[in-house]
Protein backbone atom coordinates (compact mmCIF):
# COMPACT_ATOMS: atom_id res chain seq x y z
CA UNK A 1 0.00 0.00 0.00
CA UNK A 2 2.88 2.36 0.69
CA UNK A 3 0.74 4.19 3.24
CA UNK A 4 3.66 6.01 4.82
CA UNK A 5 5.16 7.17 1.55
CA UNK A 6 1.77 8.25 0.27
CA UNK A 7 1.06 10.28 3.40
CA UNK A 8 4.57 11.73 3.23
CA UNK A 9 3.96 12.92 -0.32
CA UNK A 10 0.61 14.36 0.68
CA UNK A 11 2.13 16.12 3.67
CA UNK A 12 4.53 17.97 1.40
CA UNK A 13 1.55 19.54 -0.30
CA UNK A 14 -0.16 20.70 2.87
CA UNK A 15 -0.12 24.11 4.47
CA UNK A 16 1.67 24.40 7.83
CA UNK A 17 -0.19 22.89 10.80
CA UNK A 18 -2.67 25.14 12.55
CA UNK A 19 -1.92 26.73 15.93
CA UNK A 20 -3.74 24.06 17.97
CA UNK A 21 -2.00 21.05 16.47
CA UNK A 22 1.02 20.03 18.53
CA UNK A 23 1.77 16.71 16.83
CA UNK A 24 0.41 15.62 13.46
CA UNK A 25 0.19 12.20 11.89
CA UNK A 26 3.02 9.71 12.34
CA UNK A 27 2.57 8.85 16.02
CA UNK A 28 -0.14 6.73 17.64
CA UNK A 29 -2.43 9.76 17.75
CA UNK A 30 -2.37 13.44 16.89
CA UNK A 31 -2.05 15.88 19.79
CA UNK A 32 -4.04 19.10 19.81
CA UNK A 33 -4.59 21.86 22.33
CA UNK A 34 -8.21 22.90 21.87
CA UNK A 35 -9.91 26.10 22.92
CA UNK A 36 -12.77 25.82 25.38
CA UNK A 37 -15.02 23.69 23.21
CA UNK A 38 -14.86 21.42 20.18
CA UNK A 39 -17.42 20.59 17.50
CA UNK A 40 -16.75 17.24 15.84
CA UNK A 41 -18.44 15.70 12.83
CA UNK A 42 -17.78 12.75 10.55
CA UNK A 43 -18.94 12.18 6.98
CA UNK A 44 -18.39 9.27 4.64
CA UNK A 45 -18.49 9.17 0.84
CA UNK A 46 -18.61 5.82 -0.95
CA UNK A 47 -18.17 5.28 -4.66
CA UNK A 48 -21.35 4.14 -6.34
CA UNK A 49 -23.40 5.52 -3.44
CA UNK A 50 -22.35 9.17 -3.18
CA UNK A 51 -20.32 9.71 -6.33
CA UNK A 52 -19.18 8.10 -9.53
CA UNK A 53 -15.69 8.38 -10.86
CA UNK A 54 -16.04 9.69 -14.39
CA UNK A 55 -18.72 12.18 -13.34
CA UNK A 56 -16.36 13.81 -10.85
CA UNK A 57 -12.61 14.21 -11.08
CA UNK A 58 -10.60 12.59 -8.31
CA UNK A 59 -9.66 16.03 -7.05
CA UNK A 60 -13.34 16.97 -6.88
CA UNK A 61 -14.13 13.80 -4.91
CA UNK A 62 -11.44 14.69 -2.36
CA UNK A 63 -12.68 18.27 -2.22
CA UNK A 64 -16.30 17.22 -1.72
CA UNK A 65 -15.50 14.72 1.05
CA UNK A 66 -13.83 17.44 3.10
CA UNK A 67 -16.33 20.12 2.07
CA UNK A 68 -19.38 18.19 3.26
CA UNK A 69 -17.72 17.51 6.61
CA UNK A 70 -16.64 21.16 6.96
CA UNK A 71 -20.17 22.29 6.17
CA UNK A 72 -21.24 20.73 9.48
CA UNK A 73 -18.65 22.86 11.27
CA UNK A 74 -19.94 25.92 9.40
CA UNK A 75 -23.42 25.14 10.69
CA UNK A 76 -22.10 25.18 14.27
CA UNK A 77 -20.28 28.47 13.76
CA UNK A 78 -17.03 26.69 14.64
CA UNK A 79 -13.55 27.59 13.52
CA UNK A 80 -12.02 24.74 11.49
CA UNK A 81 -9.22 22.99 13.37
CA UNK A 82 -8.16 19.48 12.35
CA UNK A 83 -9.26 16.84 9.86
CA UNK A 84 -8.65 13.08 9.99
CA UNK A 85 -9.07 11.18 6.74
CA UNK A 86 -9.71 7.49 6.12
CA UNK A 87 -9.06 6.54 2.52
CA UNK A 88 -10.20 3.15 1.22
CA UNK A 89 -8.41 2.48 -2.04
CA UNK A 90 -9.67 0.00 -4.66
CA UNK A 91 -7.16 -1.91 -6.75
CA UNK A 92 -7.91 0.17 -9.86
CA UNK A 93 -6.78 3.41 -8.22
CA UNK A 94 -3.02 3.87 -8.33
CA UNK A 95 -0.81 6.08 -6.20
CA UNK A 96 -1.04 8.99 -8.63
CA UNK A 97 -4.82 8.75 -8.43
CA UNK A 98 -4.69 8.80 -4.63
CA UNK A 99 -2.49 11.87 -4.75
CA UNK A 100 -4.84 13.63 -7.16
CA UNK A 101 -7.72 12.92 -4.79
CA UNK A 102 -5.80 13.98 -1.70
CA UNK A 103 -4.57 17.08 -3.52
CA UNK A 104 -8.17 18.17 -4.02
CA UNK A 105 -8.73 17.65 -0.34
CA UNK A 106 -5.50 19.36 0.64
CA UNK A 107 -6.28 22.40 -1.50
CA UNK A 108 -9.57 22.94 0.34
CA UNK A 109 -7.78 22.30 3.65
CA UNK A 110 -5.33 25.07 2.81
CA UNK A 111 -8.10 27.42 1.68
CA UNK A 112 -10.11 26.91 4.86
CA UNK A 113 -7.20 26.69 7.29
CA UNK A 114 -7.88 23.19 8.56
CA UNK A 115 -4.89 20.96 9.42
CA UNK A 116 -4.79 17.43 8.03
CA UNK A 117 -3.75 15.86 11.32
CA UNK A 118 -4.03 12.13 10.74
CA UNK A 119 -5.59 9.32 8.82
CA UNK A 120 -5.62 5.73 7.76
CA UNK A 121 -5.15 4.27 4.28
CA UNK A 122 -6.45 0.82 3.52
CA UNK A 123 -7.51 -1.39 0.66
CA UNK A 124 -11.25 -1.40 -0.02
CA UNK A 125 -13.50 -2.81 -2.74
CA UNK A 126 -14.79 0.69 -3.63
CA UNK A 127 -13.22 4.12 -3.26
CA UNK A 128 -14.22 5.22 0.24
CA UNK A 129 -13.55 8.43 2.15
CA UNK A 130 -14.44 9.02 5.78
CA UNK A 131 -13.54 12.46 7.05
CA UNK A 132 -13.67 13.53 10.69
CA UNK A 133 -13.39 17.26 11.28
CA UNK A 134 -12.84 19.05 14.56
CA UNK A 135 -13.84 22.68 14.94
CA UNK A 136 -13.18 25.03 17.83
CA UNK A 137 -14.90 27.76 19.82
CA UNK A 138 -13.94 29.55 23.01
CA UNK A 139 -16.88 27.96 24.86
CA UNK A 140 -19.74 25.54 24.11
CA UNK A 141 -22.22 28.44 24.36
CA UNK A 142 -20.62 30.03 21.31
CA UNK A 143 -21.47 27.04 19.12
CA UNK A 144 -24.88 27.12 17.45
CA UNK A 145 -27.02 23.99 17.57
CA UNK A 146 -30.25 23.29 15.73
CA UNK A 147 -32.19 23.62 18.92
CA UNK A 148 -32.30 27.28 19.97
CA UNK A 149 -34.74 28.98 17.55
CA UNK A 150 -37.49 30.98 19.31
CA UNK A 151 -40.82 32.30 18.02
CA UNK A 152 -40.25 35.80 16.68
CA UNK A 153 -36.82 35.01 15.27
CA UNK A 154 -36.30 35.63 11.57
CA UNK A 155 -35.13 32.87 9.24
CA UNK A 156 -32.21 33.55 6.92
CA UNK A 157 -30.39 31.63 4.19
CA UNK A 158 -26.84 32.29 3.02
CA UNK A 159 -25.92 32.51 -0.66
CA UNK A 160 -28.16 30.93 -3.25
CA UNK A 161 -30.01 27.63 -3.37
CA UNK A 162 -31.22 25.19 -5.98
CA UNK A 163 -27.92 25.42 -7.83
CA UNK A 164 -26.56 22.01 -6.88
CA UNK A 165 -29.78 20.28 -7.93
CA UNK A 166 -29.73 22.20 -11.21
CA UNK A 167 -26.10 21.21 -11.69
CA UNK A 168 -27.10 17.58 -11.25
CA UNK A 169 -29.60 17.95 -14.10
CA UNK A 170 -26.84 19.35 -16.29
CA UNK A 171 -24.10 17.01 -15.27
CA UNK A 172 -24.46 14.28 -17.90
CA UNK A 173 -23.97 16.94 -20.59
CA UNK A 174 -21.31 18.85 -18.65
CA UNK A 175 -22.42 22.26 -19.74
CA UNK A 176 -23.06 21.53 -23.38
CA UNK A 177 -26.71 22.62 -23.30
CA UNK A 178 -26.25 25.08 -26.11
CA UNK A 179 -29.91 26.02 -26.46
CA UNK A 180 -29.93 26.93 -22.77
CA UNK A 181 -26.93 29.12 -23.42
CA UNK A 182 -28.75 31.05 -26.13
CA UNK A 183 -31.78 31.29 -23.82
CA UNK A 184 -30.01 33.96 -21.76
CA UNK A 185 -28.00 31.69 -19.42
CA UNK A 186 -24.33 32.01 -20.16
CA UNK A 187 -22.04 29.05 -20.46
CA UNK A 188 -20.19 30.38 -17.45
CA UNK A 189 -23.37 30.37 -15.38
CA UNK A 190 -24.12 26.77 -16.34
CA UNK A 191 -20.58 25.85 -15.39
CA UNK A 192 -21.15 27.48 -12.03
CA UNK A 193 -24.21 25.29 -11.40
CA UNK A 194 -22.19 22.18 -12.17
CA UNK A 195 -19.42 23.39 -9.90
CA UNK A 196 -21.92 23.84 -7.08
CA UNK A 197 -22.78 20.16 -7.36
CA UNK A 198 -19.24 18.85 -7.71
CA UNK A 199 -17.27 21.33 -5.60
CA UNK A 200 -19.48 22.66 -2.83
CA UNK A 201 -18.03 25.50 -0.73
CA UNK A 202 -18.59 25.19 3.02
CA UNK A 203 -19.83 28.50 4.44
CA UNK A 204 -17.38 28.56 7.31
CA UNK A 205 -16.87 32.32 7.55
CA UNK A 206 -20.54 33.06 7.09
CA UNK A 207 -21.35 30.49 9.80
CA UNK A 208 -18.99 32.15 12.25
CA UNK A 209 -20.37 35.58 11.36
CA UNK A 210 -23.92 34.35 12.00
CA UNK A 211 -22.89 32.78 15.31
CA UNK A 212 -21.30 36.06 16.39
CA UNK A 213 -24.39 37.98 15.28
CA UNK A 214 -26.51 35.94 17.67
CA UNK A 215 -27.89 33.09 15.52
CA UNK A 216 -30.13 31.02 17.81
CA UNK A 217 -30.19 27.90 15.60
CA UNK A 218 -28.39 26.86 12.44
CA UNK A 219 -28.21 23.89 10.04
CA UNK A 220 -26.48 23.33 6.73
CA UNK A 221 -28.57 22.58 3.65
CA UNK A 222 -27.35 19.12 2.72
CA UNK A 223 -30.67 17.29 2.31
CA UNK A 224 -32.63 20.24 0.91
CA UNK A 225 -34.28 23.28 2.50
CA UNK A 226 -37.56 21.46 3.16
CA UNK A 227 -36.13 18.54 5.10
CA UNK A 228 -33.38 20.51 6.81
CA UNK A 229 -35.85 23.20 7.94
CA UNK A 230 -37.92 20.45 9.49
CA UNK A 231 -34.87 19.13 11.40
CA UNK A 232 -34.30 22.63 12.78
CA UNK A 233 -37.98 23.10 13.65
CA UNK A 234 -38.12 19.78 15.45
CA UNK A 235 -34.89 20.29 17.39
CA UNK A 236 -36.03 23.78 18.47
CA UNK A 237 -39.62 22.77 19.21
CA UNK A 238 -40.99 25.56 17.02
CA UNK A 239 -42.76 26.08 13.72
CA UNK A 240 -41.14 27.68 10.69
CA UNK A 241 -42.90 29.76 8.05
CA UNK A 242 -40.96 30.12 4.83
CA UNK A 243 -41.87 32.50 2.02
CA UNK A 244 -41.12 30.65 -1.22
CA UNK A 245 -40.98 33.87 -3.26
CA UNK A 246 -38.17 35.12 -1.03
CA UNK A 247 -35.90 32.12 -1.63
CA UNK A 248 -32.62 33.17 -3.27
CA UNK A 249 -32.47 30.95 -6.35
CA UNK A 250 -29.06 30.55 -7.95
CA UNK A 251 -28.67 32.16 -11.37
CA UNK A 252 -29.83 29.75 -14.07
CA UNK A 253 -31.93 27.51 -11.80
CA UNK A 254 -35.20 28.77 -13.31
CA UNK A 255 -33.98 28.16 -16.85
CA UNK A 256 -32.49 24.72 -16.16
CA UNK A 257 -35.65 23.66 -14.29
CA UNK A 258 -37.88 24.83 -17.15
CA UNK A 259 -35.67 23.05 -19.64
CA UNK A 260 -35.99 19.80 -17.63
CA UNK A 261 -39.73 20.20 -17.09
CA UNK A 262 -39.25 20.75 -13.36
CA UNK A 263 -40.33 23.49 -10.97
CA UNK A 264 -37.53 25.85 -9.87
CA UNK A 265 -38.98 25.78 -6.34
CA UNK A 266 -38.72 22.01 -6.32
CA UNK A 267 -34.99 22.29 -6.93
CA UNK A 268 -34.67 24.94 -4.24
CA UNK A 269 -36.75 23.17 -1.58
CA UNK A 270 -36.09 19.51 -2.28
CA UNK A 271 -32.73 19.70 -3.99
CA UNK A 272 -29.95 18.92 -1.57
CA UNK A 273 -26.23 19.57 -1.55
CA UNK A 274 -26.28 23.34 -1.75
CA UNK A 275 -24.37 23.44 1.55
CA UNK A 276 -25.71 26.88 2.31
CA UNK A 277 -26.78 27.69 5.87
CA UNK A 278 -30.29 28.13 7.24
CA UNK A 279 -30.29 30.10 10.49
CA UNK A 280 -32.70 31.65 12.94
CA UNK A 281 -31.84 35.08 14.36
CA UNK A 282 -33.47 37.59 16.70
CA UNK A 283 -35.18 40.07 14.35
CA UNK A 284 -33.31 43.02 15.82
CA UNK A 285 -29.96 41.52 14.84
CA UNK A 286 -30.79 40.88 11.18
CA UNK A 287 -29.08 44.02 9.88
CA UNK A 288 -25.92 43.30 11.88
CA UNK A 289 -25.90 39.68 10.67
CA UNK A 290 -26.39 40.69 7.03
CA UNK A 291 -23.55 43.15 7.21
CA UNK A 292 -21.24 40.63 8.88
CA UNK A 293 -22.00 37.93 6.32
CA UNK A 294 -21.57 40.36 3.45
CA UNK A 295 -18.13 41.28 4.74
CA UNK A 296 -17.05 37.71 3.96
CA UNK A 297 -18.53 37.93 0.46
CA UNK A 298 -21.78 36.03 1.01
CA UNK A 299 -25.32 37.36 0.70
CA UNK A 300 -27.87 36.79 3.44
CA UNK A 301 -31.57 36.56 2.59
CA UNK A 302 -34.50 36.70 4.96
CA UNK A 303 -36.77 33.83 3.93
CA UNK A 304 -39.31 33.54 6.74
CA UNK A 305 -39.84 33.48 10.46
CA UNK A 306 -40.01 31.27 13.48
CA UNK A 307 -43.47 30.80 15.00
CA UNK A 308 -44.83 28.85 17.92
CA UNK A 309 -46.21 25.46 17.02
CA UNK A 310 -44.40 22.81 15.06
CA UNK A 311 -43.44 21.81 11.54
CA UNK A 312 -42.66 23.85 8.46
CA UNK A 313 -45.07 25.76 6.26
CA UNK A 314 -43.99 27.12 2.91
CA UNK A 315 -46.07 29.97 1.47
CA UNK A 316 -46.17 29.69 -2.31
CA UNK A 317 -46.19 32.73 -4.60
CA UNK A 318 -49.76 32.02 -5.81
CA UNK A 319 -51.09 32.04 -2.27
CA UNK A 320 -50.96 28.28 -1.72
CA UNK A 321 -49.25 26.66 1.21
CA UNK A 322 -47.13 23.56 1.41
CA UNK A 323 -47.55 21.81 4.72
CA UNK A 324 -44.82 19.89 6.52
CA UNK A 325 -45.97 16.60 5.11
CA UNK A 326 -46.88 18.13 1.76
CA UNK A 327 -43.51 19.38 0.62
CA UNK A 328 -41.93 15.99 1.04
CA UNK A 329 -44.15 14.89 -1.81
CA UNK A 330 -43.60 18.05 -3.81
CA UNK A 331 -42.18 16.34 -6.86
Amino acid sequence: MGEFELLERVRERLPPDGPRLRLGSGDDAAIAVPDGATATSVDALVEGVHFHRGQSSLGQIGHKALATALSDLAAMGAEPGEAYVVLGVPTDLDEEGCLELLDGLAKLAAATGISLAGGDVTRAPALTLAVTVVGHAPSPEQLVTRGGARPGDVLVVTGEIGGAAAGLLLEPETGSSSHLVTNSVTKRELGELIRRQLEPQPRLEAGRALAEAGATAMIDLSDGLGGDARHLAKASGVGLQIDASALPLAVGVAEVAADAGREPLELAIQGGEDYELLAALPAERLAEASAAVEVVGVTLTRVGEVVSGEGVEIRLPGGGRLKPVGFDQLS
Copy 2:
Protein backbone atom coordinates in the same frame (compact mmCIF):
# COMPACT_ATOMS: atom_id res chain seq x y z
CA MET B 1 -31.15 2.79 5.50
CA GLY B 2 -33.07 4.02 8.57
CA GLU B 3 -29.90 5.70 9.87
CA PHE B 4 -31.72 7.73 12.50
CA GLU B 5 -33.76 4.81 13.83
CA LEU B 6 -30.69 2.59 13.88
CA LEU B 7 -28.67 5.16 15.82
CA GLU B 8 -31.63 5.68 18.15
CA ARG B 9 -31.74 1.97 18.93
CA VAL B 10 -28.00 1.91 19.47
CA ARG B 11 -28.16 4.94 21.74
CA GLU B 12 -30.57 3.12 24.05
CA ARG B 13 -27.87 0.56 24.64
CA LEU B 14 -25.14 3.03 25.47
CA PRO B 15 -23.88 4.16 28.85
CA PRO B 16 -24.58 7.80 29.77
CA ASP B 17 -22.42 10.37 27.98
CA GLY B 18 -19.07 11.14 29.55
CA PRO B 19 -18.45 14.38 31.46
CA ARG B 20 -16.89 16.22 28.52
CA LEU B 21 -19.65 15.60 25.99
CA ARG B 22 -22.15 18.45 25.96
CA LEU B 23 -24.12 17.41 22.89
CA GLY B 24 -24.07 13.98 21.28
CA SER B 25 -25.13 12.85 17.84
CA GLY B 26 -28.26 14.28 16.25
CA ASP B 27 -27.05 17.82 15.52
CA ASP B 28 -24.61 18.97 12.84
CA ALA B 29 -21.69 18.12 15.13
CA ALA B 30 -21.06 16.85 18.63
CA ILE B 31 -19.97 19.41 21.22
CA ALA B 32 -17.32 18.54 23.78
CA VAL B 33 -15.43 20.47 26.41
CA PRO B 34 -11.92 18.99 26.39
CA ASP B 35 -9.27 19.18 29.07
CA GLY B 36 -6.01 20.87 28.16
CA ALA B 37 -5.05 18.49 25.36
CA THR B 38 -6.58 15.90 23.06
CA ALA B 39 -5.14 12.80 21.41
CA THR B 40 -7.05 11.79 18.29
CA SER B 41 -6.68 8.67 16.18
CA VAL B 42 -8.64 7.03 13.41
CA ASP B 43 -8.68 3.37 12.36
CA ALA B 44 -10.54 1.60 9.59
CA LEU B 45 -11.50 -2.05 9.27
CA VAL B 46 -12.70 -3.37 5.92
CA GLU B 47 -14.26 -6.76 5.33
CA GLY B 48 -12.03 -9.04 3.28
CA VAL B 49 -8.99 -6.93 4.22
CA HIS B 50 -9.00 -6.87 8.03
CA PHE B 51 -11.61 -9.47 8.91
CA HIS B 52 -13.94 -12.07 7.49
CA ARG B 53 -17.49 -12.53 8.62
CA GLY B 54 -17.78 -16.17 9.61
CA GLN B 55 -14.40 -16.11 11.33
CA SER B 56 -15.51 -13.32 13.68
CA SER B 57 -18.97 -12.69 15.07
CA LEU B 58 -20.48 -9.31 14.20
CA GLY B 59 -20.16 -8.29 17.84
CA GLN B 60 -16.45 -9.16 17.74
CA ILE B 61 -15.99 -7.06 14.60
CA GLY B 62 -17.58 -4.07 16.31
CA HIS B 63 -15.48 -4.68 19.41
CA LYS B 64 -12.25 -4.95 17.46
CA ALA B 65 -12.86 -1.80 15.41
CA LEU B 66 -13.18 0.26 18.59
CA ALA B 67 -10.47 -1.69 20.43
CA THR B 68 -7.79 -1.07 17.81
CA ALA B 69 -8.59 2.66 17.80
CA LEU B 70 -8.59 2.81 21.61
CA SER B 71 -5.25 1.03 21.68
CA ASP B 72 -3.74 4.13 20.08
CA LEU B 73 -5.12 6.24 22.93
CA ALA B 74 -3.68 3.74 25.40
CA ALA B 75 -0.29 4.20 23.76
CA MET B 76 -0.53 7.96 24.37
CA GLY B 77 -1.54 7.52 28.00
CA ALA B 78 -4.77 9.40 27.21
CA GLU B 79 -8.08 9.06 28.99
CA PRO B 80 -10.76 7.86 26.55
CA GLY B 81 -13.28 10.57 25.74
CA GLU B 82 -15.41 10.29 22.62
CA ALA B 83 -15.74 7.95 19.64
CA TYR B 84 -17.19 8.70 16.20
CA VAL B 85 -18.15 5.70 14.08
CA VAL B 86 -18.64 5.40 10.33
CA LEU B 87 -20.46 2.22 9.40
CA GLY B 88 -20.59 1.11 5.76
CA VAL B 89 -23.32 -1.50 5.42
CA PRO B 90 -23.46 -4.02 2.56
CA THR B 91 -26.84 -5.17 1.30
CA ASP B 92 -26.48 -8.60 2.92
CA LEU B 93 -26.28 -7.16 6.43
CA ASP B 94 -29.70 -6.38 7.88
CA GLU B 95 -30.63 -4.04 10.72
CA GLU B 96 -30.35 -6.79 13.33
CA GLY B 97 -26.84 -7.52 12.07
CA CYS B 98 -25.92 -3.84 12.37
CA LEU B 99 -27.25 -3.80 15.91
CA GLU B 100 -25.28 -6.90 16.84
CA LEU B 101 -22.13 -5.25 15.50
CA LEU B 102 -22.82 -1.94 17.21
CA ASP B 103 -23.69 -3.77 20.42
CA GLY B 104 -20.21 -5.29 20.47
CA LEU B 105 -18.80 -1.82 20.00
CA ALA B 106 -21.13 -0.28 22.59
CA LYS B 107 -20.22 -2.90 25.18
CA LEU B 108 -16.53 -2.02 24.90
CA ALA B 109 -17.45 1.68 24.96
CA ALA B 110 -19.28 1.14 28.23
CA ALA B 111 -16.42 -0.91 29.67
CA THR B 112 -13.81 1.70 28.79
CA GLY B 113 -15.90 4.79 29.52
CA ILE B 114 -15.80 6.27 26.03
CA SER B 115 -18.88 8.12 24.76
CA LEU B 116 -20.24 7.25 21.32
CA ALA B 117 -20.70 10.85 20.27
CA GLY B 118 -21.53 10.68 16.59
CA GLY B 119 -21.28 8.79 13.36
CA ASP B 120 -22.43 8.21 9.85
CA VAL B 121 -24.16 5.18 8.38
CA THR B 122 -24.02 4.54 4.66
CA ARG B 123 -24.37 1.81 2.10
CA ALA B 124 -21.08 0.23 1.05
CA PRO B 125 -20.07 -2.77 -1.06
CA ALA B 126 -18.25 -4.38 1.90
CA LEU B 127 -18.76 -4.07 5.63
CA THR B 128 -16.61 -1.09 6.62
CA LEU B 129 -15.92 0.52 9.97
CA ALA B 130 -13.96 3.72 10.50
CA VAL B 131 -13.61 4.74 14.11
CA THR B 132 -12.24 8.07 15.29
CA VAL B 133 -11.41 8.24 18.98
CA VAL B 134 -10.58 11.32 21.03
CA GLY B 135 -8.65 10.98 24.27
CA HIS B 136 -7.88 13.61 26.85
CA ALA B 137 -5.08 14.75 29.10
CA PRO B 138 -4.64 17.84 31.27
CA SER B 139 -1.80 19.07 29.04
CA PRO B 140 0.04 17.97 25.90
CA GLU B 141 3.13 17.25 28.01
CA GLN B 142 1.22 14.48 29.81
CA LEU B 143 0.68 12.56 26.59
CA VAL B 144 3.42 10.09 25.63
CA THR B 145 4.65 10.08 22.06
CA ARG B 146 6.98 7.59 20.39
CA GLY B 147 9.72 10.13 20.33
CA GLY B 148 11.04 10.64 23.87
CA ALA B 149 13.07 7.51 24.69
CA ARG B 150 16.61 8.26 25.95
CA PRO B 151 19.67 6.05 26.23
CA GLY B 152 19.66 4.46 29.68
CA ASP B 153 15.87 4.05 29.79
CA VAL B 154 14.55 0.54 30.33
CA LEU B 155 12.14 -1.05 27.88
CA VAL B 156 8.97 -2.64 29.21
CA VAL B 157 6.06 -4.57 27.73
CA THR B 158 2.60 -4.90 29.28
CA GLY B 159 0.79 -8.24 29.55
CA GLU B 160 1.77 -11.09 27.26
CA ILE B 161 2.64 -11.23 23.60
CA GLY B 162 2.44 -13.74 20.77
CA GLY B 163 -1.07 -14.75 21.81
CA ALA B 164 -2.94 -13.06 18.97
CA ALA B 165 -0.65 -14.64 16.36
CA ALA B 166 -1.10 -18.03 18.02
CA GLY B 167 -4.86 -17.47 18.06
CA LEU B 168 -4.72 -16.83 14.34
CA LEU B 169 -3.07 -20.23 13.84
CA LEU B 170 -5.89 -21.84 15.82
CA GLU B 171 -8.71 -19.83 14.36
CA PRO B 172 -9.79 -22.11 11.51
CA GLU B 173 -10.36 -24.91 14.02
CA THR B 174 -11.85 -22.61 16.67
CA GLY B 175 -10.19 -24.32 19.56
CA SER B 176 -10.78 -27.90 18.51
CA SER B 177 -7.09 -28.87 18.56
CA SER B 178 -7.73 -31.77 20.88
CA HIS B 179 -4.21 -33.17 20.77
CA LEU B 180 -2.91 -29.78 21.84
CA VAL B 181 -5.32 -29.89 24.72
CA THR B 182 -3.92 -33.20 25.89
CA ASN B 183 -0.42 -31.80 25.46
CA SER B 184 -0.83 -29.72 28.62
CA VAL B 185 -2.59 -26.67 27.15
CA THR B 186 -6.12 -26.50 28.41
CA LYS B 187 -9.06 -25.84 26.18
CA ARG B 188 -9.65 -22.66 28.15
CA GLU B 189 -6.11 -21.48 27.38
CA LEU B 190 -6.56 -22.12 23.67
CA GLY B 191 -9.84 -20.23 23.79
CA GLU B 192 -8.00 -17.34 25.41
CA LEU B 193 -5.51 -17.22 22.50
CA ILE B 194 -8.37 -17.07 20.01
CA ARG B 195 -10.05 -14.36 22.05
CA ARG B 196 -6.84 -12.32 21.96
CA GLN B 197 -7.02 -12.34 18.19
CA LEU B 198 -10.74 -11.64 17.88
CA GLU B 199 -11.40 -9.44 20.91
CA PRO B 200 -8.25 -7.49 21.75
CA GLN B 201 -8.34 -5.48 24.98
CA PRO B 202 -6.87 -1.98 24.72
CA ARG B 203 -4.50 -1.32 27.63
CA LEU B 204 -5.98 2.03 28.52
CA GLU B 205 -5.46 1.93 32.29
CA ALA B 206 -1.97 0.49 31.95
CA GLY B 207 -1.13 3.19 29.42
CA ARG B 208 -2.24 5.93 31.78
CA ALA B 209 -0.33 4.32 34.64
CA LEU B 210 2.82 4.20 32.52
CA ALA B 211 2.37 7.82 31.48
CA GLU B 212 2.01 8.86 35.12
CA ALA B 213 5.06 6.78 36.04
CA GLY B 214 7.17 8.79 33.64
CA ALA B 215 7.16 6.76 30.41
CA THR B 216 9.36 8.64 27.95
CA ALA B 217 8.03 6.89 24.81
CA MET B 218 5.24 4.44 24.14
CA ILE B 219 3.67 2.55 21.22
CA ASP B 220 1.02 -0.14 20.98
CA LEU B 221 1.95 -3.51 19.51
CA SER B 222 -0.31 -3.67 16.49
CA ASP B 223 2.19 -4.67 13.80
CA GLY B 224 4.37 -6.86 16.01
CA LEU B 225 7.10 -6.12 18.54
CA GLY B 226 9.86 -6.08 15.93
CA GLY B 227 8.33 -3.50 13.64
CA ASP B 228 6.77 -1.43 16.38
CA ALA B 229 10.04 -1.29 18.32
CA ARG B 230 11.68 0.03 15.20
CA HIS B 231 9.06 2.78 14.89
CA LEU B 232 9.78 3.82 18.47
CA ALA B 233 13.55 3.68 17.96
CA LYS B 234 13.33 5.79 14.83
CA ALA B 235 10.99 8.38 16.32
CA SER B 236 13.21 8.71 19.41
CA GLY B 237 16.49 8.67 17.49
CA VAL B 238 17.87 5.88 19.66
CA GLY B 239 18.76 2.20 19.49
CA LEU B 240 16.83 -0.52 21.31
CA GLN B 241 18.25 -3.74 22.68
CA ILE B 242 15.66 -6.40 23.39
CA ASP B 243 16.35 -9.62 25.29
CA ALA B 244 14.30 -12.32 23.55
CA SER B 245 14.43 -14.64 26.57
CA ALA B 246 12.74 -11.96 28.65
CA LEU B 247 9.71 -11.60 26.38
CA PRO B 248 6.49 -12.49 28.20
CA LEU B 249 4.94 -15.13 25.94
CA ALA B 250 1.25 -15.78 26.40
CA VAL B 251 0.35 -19.18 27.85
CA GLY B 252 0.10 -21.76 25.08
CA VAL B 253 2.11 -19.81 22.48
CA ALA B 254 5.04 -22.24 22.71
CA GLU B 255 2.78 -25.26 22.24
CA VAL B 256 0.73 -23.78 19.40
CA ALA B 257 3.91 -22.63 17.63
CA ALA B 258 5.49 -26.08 17.99
CA ASP B 259 2.31 -27.70 16.72
CA ALA B 260 2.36 -25.45 13.65
CA GLY B 261 6.08 -25.88 13.02
CA ARG B 262 6.79 -22.26 13.90
CA GLU B 263 9.12 -20.58 16.36
CA PRO B 264 7.41 -19.13 19.46
CA LEU B 265 9.69 -16.08 19.19
CA GLU B 266 8.51 -15.53 15.66
CA LEU B 267 4.94 -15.23 16.90
CA ALA B 268 6.06 -12.90 19.69
CA ILE B 269 8.27 -10.65 17.55
CA GLN B 270 6.54 -10.69 14.20
CA GLY B 271 3.00 -11.53 15.22
CA GLY B 272 0.89 -8.40 15.35
CA GLU B 273 -2.41 -7.54 16.99
CA ASP B 274 -1.47 -8.22 20.59
CA TYR B 275 -2.31 -4.59 21.38
CA GLU B 276 0.00 -4.63 24.37
CA LEU B 277 2.16 -1.58 25.03
CA LEU B 278 5.90 -1.18 24.56
CA ALA B 279 7.27 1.69 26.63
CA ALA B 280 10.58 3.26 27.58
CA LEU B 281 11.03 4.41 31.19
CA PRO B 282 13.80 5.95 33.27
CA ALA B 283 15.35 2.96 35.06
CA GLU B 284 14.76 4.49 38.47
CA ARG B 285 11.01 4.57 37.89
CA LEU B 286 10.63 0.91 36.87
CA ALA B 287 9.47 -0.31 40.28
CA GLU B 288 6.90 2.48 40.55
CA ALA B 289 5.64 1.76 37.03
CA SER B 290 5.37 -1.99 37.66
CA ALA B 291 3.39 -1.40 40.83
CA ALA B 292 1.06 1.10 39.12
CA VAL B 293 0.42 -1.22 36.20
CA GLU B 294 -0.17 -4.19 38.49
CA VAL B 295 -2.79 -2.20 40.38
CA VAL B 296 -4.90 -2.25 37.21
CA GLY B 297 -4.41 -6.00 36.83
CA VAL B 298 -1.72 -6.04 34.15
CA THR B 299 1.81 -7.37 34.43
CA LEU B 300 4.79 -5.31 33.34
CA THR B 301 7.93 -7.02 32.05
CA ARG B 302 11.33 -5.49 31.51
CA VAL B 303 12.44 -6.67 28.07
CA GLY B 304 15.49 -4.59 27.25
CA GLU B 305 17.00 -1.13 27.23
CA VAL B 306 17.43 2.01 25.22
CA VAL B 307 20.94 2.67 23.90
CA SER B 308 22.50 5.35 21.82
CA GLY B 309 22.67 4.59 18.13
CA GLU B 310 19.82 3.47 15.97
CA GLY B 311 17.70 0.47 15.10
CA VAL B 312 16.67 -2.56 17.08
CA GLU B 313 18.79 -5.52 18.14
CA ILE B 314 17.22 -8.64 19.57
CA ARG B 315 19.48 -10.88 21.64
CA LEU B 316 18.47 -14.50 21.16
CA PRO B 317 18.63 -17.10 23.96
CA GLY B 318 21.41 -19.06 22.22
CA GLY B 319 23.65 -15.98 22.07
CA GLY B 320 22.72 -14.96 18.51
CA ARG B 321 21.54 -11.52 17.57
CA LEU B 322 18.85 -10.41 15.19
CA LYS B 323 19.69 -7.11 13.54
CA PRO B 324 17.14 -4.51 12.54
CA VAL B 325 17.05 -5.70 8.98
CA GLY B 326 17.34 -9.34 10.00
CA PHE B 327 14.29 -9.71 12.13
CA ASP B 328 12.03 -8.52 9.39
CA GLN B 329 13.01 -11.67 7.54
CA LEU B 330 12.78 -13.87 10.60
CA SER B 331 10.08 -16.15 9.23
